[in-house]
Symmetry: D2
Subunit: 267 residues, 4 copies
Amino acid sequence: MIEGARVFDLEQPRAEGMPVHPAHQQAGYSYLLHRRHEDEYRPDESGPRTGAAGIIVCAEHTGTHIDALCHQSDALTLYGGVSVDSSVQTPRGFKRHGVEEIPPILAPGVLLDVAASKGLDEIEAGYPVTAEDLEACCERQEVSVEPGDVALVRTGNARQWEDPERYLAGPGVAASASYWLAERGVIAVGADNMAWDVPGLRDPELGCLMPGHLILLARYGIYIVENLALEELAAAGAHRFDFVCTPLKLVGATGSPVRPVAVVSSR
Amino acid sequence: MIEGARVFDLEQPRAEGMPVHPAHQQAGYSYLLHRRHEDEYRPDESGPRTGAAGIIVCAEHTGTHIDALCHQSDALTLYGGVSVDSSVQTPRGFKRHGVEEIPPILAPGVLLDVAASKGLDEIEAGYPVTAEDLEACCERQEVSVEPGDVALVRTGNARQWEDPERYLAGPGVAASASYWLAERGVIAVGADNMAWDVPGLRDPELGCLMPGHLILLARYGIYIVENLALEELAAAGAHRFDFVCTPLKLVGATGSPVRPVAVVSSR
Amino acid sequence: MIEGARVFDLEQPRAEGMPVHPAHQQAGYSYLLHRRHEDEYRPDESGPRTGAAGIIVCAEHTGTHIDALCHQSDALTLYGGVSVDSSVQTPRGFKRHGVEEIPPILAPGVLLDVAASKGLDEIEAGYPVTAEDLEACCERQEVSVEPGDVALVRTGNARQWEDPERYLAGPGVAASASYWLAERGVIAVGADNMAWDVPGLRDPELGCLMPGHLILLARYGIYIVENLALEELAAAGAHRFDFVCTPLKLVGATGSPVRPVAVVSSR
Amino acid sequence: MIEGARVFDLEQPRAEGMPVHPAHQQAGYSYLLHRRHEDEYRPDESGPRTGAAGIIVCAEHTGTHIDALCHQSDALTLYGGVSVDSSVQTPRGFKRHGVEEIPPILAPGVLLDVAASKGLDEIEAGYPVTAEDLEACCERQEVSVEPGDVALVRTGNARQWEDPERYLAGPGVAASASYWLAERGVIAVGADNMAWDVPGLRDPELGCLMPGHLILLARYGIYIVENLALEELAAAGAHRFDFVCTPLKLVGATGSPVRPVAVVSSR
């Protein structure tokens, strides 16, 4: 894995002011440093060593993160027919399909650079990437999506990370593309936007916003990774890699912040 | 990396009531679910999809985590001669040596199973693992610690995770062992206890508690991973592996929760 | 109100380590200072003024606080026949009977010093103060409880504030006493213990723990103030006073931290 | 105090989305309900009673609040010559002049309705209320500001509470008016804007922003109450009243949320 491999960091930096989905803005993201080095510096009594520390307050769906299966329901039923009742849903999280149930993900990864396959730096805000777009992208890249893969869809939206309003308004993935990926047996998907799906776009057939969340998490049991930083990986033209993502075992949580990496072997 | 490899999960589960170091108990660790599926279930208007979400409040040094270099100072100087002043230390964290500066760690890992090398299930509370103990362990395991390695020290203390009081009182690593590892050029170390060093033990020479923190973080620039779950890895007798750990880029933070894994290739 | 009146502060100090009810220990209470004066001290650019600030993380039922009517239900119905459904109970609190609906309380207050009437400094842990105890106390004090009053029951437990374990195990008020007060038409009650009722005591008739919470909040619409500091007021022998308590309008919250005062006019 | 008195509530409601000063937006204000009634509803085992509860995460300077003396320094010296050093300023707040040192405030209150005295509903954004404005207002109202008073300045800005951007940009109090009030010996002041002073206005003489904070808190030891709801009180033409404000004893904190009231006796 290691010798001579190139590692691409797919996490956006976490800081106050980063884009946050309206549904998670209440808690938002804060890091506050309260213990400082000088507080405990008493060289005569306790030597030269000092420590500093802070606290994190955040919604689990801020920054680059993965959605657990309990994050979404299909008519109040979780993936695998688990009913949402008080034995499953508690004040401290879920007893089934919590993010701690996601194993460490080390799987073959494929980048579907849809922006590039359309000859664009980035796809315009609001555009829904369709199954046809993914097909065309695979042809152009001469790759196929295989069972067990983690499929990452690049729209170029990551370039807008510093402009939260524009970033949030970005493009997304249409229901047809979520179905297309699910049918190919991927174990997880990811994209360089806030919520995989197209912001504010209701799917006519399913009658809901964010159809991909319903299809992938609640119906197929496929994880979604959001807010990926895919520019560097795309620039390197790496379409195949080892995808590594280790969600924190936040017991009962509906997701976890993550720092996924793509490992491209030199061979 | 992936085909036929065995992946060991080295993270302890994160839940209220887990052991927390006294210095970080104020914020502690909480996960609170506030958005529930039934809240937005209006099938006629918005289809069958619903979402649930919560918030995390925690000290960055709770659970299995990595210490950033800014976490410790040597007479108010960080690693590399960086003075702790207001240009470096701010209310929102550090401008230098914050955890976001730690690259994704994919490195050769070595398990030093000191408990096993002493013929014990676990080392008694308060015992300081010395350089001699590490030497003896390497001999018995027929491994050596090489530059660029990540060295994990097993005391067996992870077995006490469910008993916070006992876990916190566990054994640790003596200054001599921290020096020994630093001199071998490791890039990171880790152990199955709360704070690497022996709880409450002042180093006579350095005159401080937690000498390993001073030596490794502030003087050698070596990261420390704490609260590792090493029992399964040890039971498998895996002494050499690929160590993968991807700290979250919490800008300015003095550490990050992590879920490290050990990848043991079948070859 | 003011000239020559004596004001008694009935709030316990709020600090980490204070007694917290097991049901509210997850979030607990923390105050963390992150902005410090030196951070923005640049006299040449911005003059001599600097500011410091922090954050509060707490359960609304920590420290001296008042319970809102939405805090308790009677078979999933709030006071006044309000059903607990998603139109009333939301992720951000309650749309009915939230603490913001409590008007500022300025009302005649009466101290029922049950400990003193029993000739004790404090009543033993676990003792349930009965209707008979309140009757006897009123007789001994030559006071009566009138409609519109706020009735404060003193057990002496406030003396144990510094010993959280003992404080939490303190005495409480029996269902008979809650009924007795409710029937007299008080608008609010309070006591010097964690939860008004006797810790862990199930009421045989109602079949629940904390019967006073059911009786007072859910059935009679009477507020409960908890963790009052009553020692100084009792020492002054003040049995009648103006009770002033202004709950914060935390929209939707089930309670609020408060600093009640008793104003004893000199006349 | 009570019979026949009219009580005016001077607190703005606390809810997500309320105006928050840029300096305190990181933690902001959140209330999250996590325990819900149905969670513990098991009538057969535990009777009809259920409880619900949530948590509060906020900066202490959000909503209607009072500033403690430790909130501001004059060249790193607090009121009364207290130097800001590590014996006074700690990760958990201040050991001197913390908000817990503010006694319950029950004092004569005076409303200076500057907007009305100028014949306006509200004073325009950015306007600095001067000493002359206060003089003119006192004359017009036929009131004087006396030692021991709490002086509330009305600009009409409270009408903009629902429009955070406009509210934050509101008018304020000039340094000359802060001096004028300080010299009259008031114990506290308050206004219907975010930060007493004029947003973004540097005082030429003191060379700093928010000169009133320096003058009142750090130099005269006079508390400042911010974000007051003064419309109803002004509409009633009440210029003299009993002002009641009981800051929470948040040990070490630089301020406290409060719900002040004005009590207007019928006599």
